[in-house]
């Protein structure tokens, strides 16, 4: 039972954005994809989630082929994406955001909403508030809570730390760790390298459209300490201090 990405390629017109990507996520583990801006990280997640068509390769979740599925079918198959940036529905209340997320999973909506919101006490007090009035951290929590309504087996997150204060980032990452302990397979795309490695079981570096081999957390930390983490792909050495800095806004 895994989410397996095999030889996945994505083209935007003639430009190849993703080249033969291979990634595997087991239930209960956090896998991070880290890499510089424009490397193809968001493309990888969007392709798995059905927003971007694959040119070739396959995405399979628990023996179900997702490769040609639309985004609305992929989420029903148990793979949910929390996209990069603020994608709460600003004019909808918190409760309406959650109700909409539950609509795709008929039959157990109230329970599913209660269960998904239980991890986010701040949201419970703001049910009737417009999503636009929430803080950045609360909006991120709402996006994660919405994605959890369908009890996904695999959760994909694209730059969840973007624009958040360090303490809020810690809270968000702690939630991801708790989700993994509950059996959810988490695929995390981040530029905030040291934080991502700290929360992960395995790490891949993605640069120039190519996904590198999987490293264990210990191997990644060792590479960071040695200053060679991005060396293989970017052709330069990135110091650990550089990698720990919050990065500018914008995705790949």
């Amino acid at each position: 039972m895994t989410l397996t990405v095999s030889d996945l390629e994505v083209h935007y017109g003639r430009r190849r954005a993703l080249e033969g990507a291979n990634v595997r996520i087991n239930p209960g583990e956090v896998v991070s994809i880290v890499g510089p801006n424009g490397a193809g990280k968001s493309t990888l997640l969007n392709c798995i989630a059905g927003l971007v068509p694959a040119s070739s390769g396959a995405v399979v979740a628990d023996d179900v082929e997702l490769t040609a599925m639309s985004a609305e079918r992929v989420v029903r198959a148990g793979v949910a994406l929390v996209p990069e940036g603020k994608h709460v529905f600003a004019s909808l209340s918190v409760a309406e955001n959650m109700r909409l997320a539950a609509a795709a999973f008929r039959g157990h909506a109230p329970d599913a909403i209660r269960h998904a919101t239980a991890r986010f006490p701040k949201l419970q007090d703001r049910q009737s508030q417009r999503a636009s009035s929430l803080s950045g951290g609360e909006q991120q929590q709402l996006m994660i809570a919405r994605a959890l309504v369908g009890s996904p087996k695999y959760l994909l997150l694209d730059e969840p730390s973007m624009g958040l204060a360090p303490q809020v980032v810690q809270e968000v990452f702690a939630i991801l760790r708790a989700l993994a302990q509950a059996g959810v397979g988490v695929l995390l795309v981040e530029q905030f390298v040291t934080q991502a490695v700290a929360v992960s079981d395995r790490v891949h570096v993605l640069a120039r459209g190519r996904v590198g081999d999987s490293m264990t957390k210990a191997e990644a930390e060792q590479a960071i300490d040695a200053g060679s983490f991005f060396e293989a792909y970017s052709g330069r050495t990135v110091q650990p201090a550089d990698m720990a800095q919050p990065r500018p806004m914008g995705g790949s």
């Binding site: 989420v75 996209p83 994608h87 004019s91 309406e96 909409l100 609509a103 999973f105």
Partner: protein, 295 residues
């Protein structure tokens, strides 16, 4: 005083009709970012259905018009717009013009360019005396229709899950899809509503004019689009407000301009539109915060 009240009554009636047209266009723009220039031809098609059903009872005519509007809208979406859903807004706009011209020419080829007299809604031409004001029945029906449609649409958008899905999709379509909102369902329901509104617009228009030609829908569609831009694109209430304002100001100009200057009415009106857009390019009823929220 009576003249002022009459002007206000006519302004409300005209504004209501423009608001309806604008809502039909804004519904589609909200979920697809598509300016459906074929909307006018959908309106015209419903009027031709009324023409062909002229020997039937009013109920049959109205049901026929509603069905025609809905079916034609859904067919246009399925055949012309769905294959282009991920295309650029410019491509979509050109496609909409292509559909518009195709339908117009199909009508020219089949029913001809001659104006056809349509009796549907002719009873609404009867003038009612409301105190000092003379109001045609269709004006009253127009205002009531707008109120009913706005209330019903609002209830749908706020209370129903599908309506909440439409609001979400109009803000961020991909994010809605990621929550399992079915893109096809949301878009289809928007076209169903838009087609039904087109039928209501057709009925009210022909109640006032009594005739139809293949090009009868061009001006209403264009004015509806302008109304959507004036009010603010992407928001149904803003579009309705823009439509009401455009229609009302058109009527008021009709009253206040000297007879010799009436030929310049539209020039004055659209100069005002231009100034308004320079002042508030995002639209009159949309604030910049809302734009940022949608960005």
């Amino acid at each position: 005083m009576d003249r002022t009240l009459q002007a206000i009554a006519d302004a409300i009636s005209s504004g209501s009709l423009y608001a309806l047209i604008a809502m039909g266009i804004a519904l589609i723009f909200g979920v697809m970012r598509l300016v459906n220039m074929a909307y006018g031809e959908t309106v015209v098609a419903t009027i031709y259905v009324a023409y062909f059903l002229r020997d039937q009872s009013p109920v049959v005519v109205i049901v026929g018009m509603l069905l025609a509007g809905i079916v034609l809208s859904v067919v246009i979406e399925r055949l012309a717009f769905r294959p282009l859903r991920n295309a650029s807004p410019t491509t979509m706009l050109i496609a909409a013009f292509a559909v518009s011209f195709t339908l117009q020419n199909a009508a020219l080829a089949t029913v001809g360019a001659s104006p056809r007299s349509v009796s549907a809604g002719s009873s609404l031409a009867e003038v009612r005396h409301l105190g000092p004001v003379d109001v045609p029945a269709y004006s009253i029906v127009t205002v009531v229709a707008v109120i009913v449609i706005v209330v019903a649409l609002r209830a749908f958008l706020v209370k129903s899950t599908l309506g909440i899905g439409m609001r979400a999709a109009s803000e961020d379509f991909d994010a809605a899809r990621l929550l399992g909102v079915r893109a096809n369902s949301v878009i289809r329901i928007a076209f169903v509503f838009s087609g039904a509104i087109a039928a209501v617009v057709g009925y009210l228009l022909v109640s006032a004019t009594g005739v139809v030609t293949p090009t009868s829908g061009t001006t209403p569609a264009l004015l509806g689009f302008i109304a959507v831009v004036i009010g603010g694109m992407g928001s149904l209430p803003a579009a309705a407000g823009g439509g009401f304002l455009l229609g009302a100001v058109t009527q008021i100009l009709q009253y206040v301009l000297p007879t010799d200057a009436l030929v310049f009415r539209d020039a004055i009106l659209f100069s005002g539109v231009l100034l308004l857009l320079i002042w508030r390019p995002q639209g009159l009823f949309i604030n910049s915060k809302t734009i940022q929220e949608r960005a």
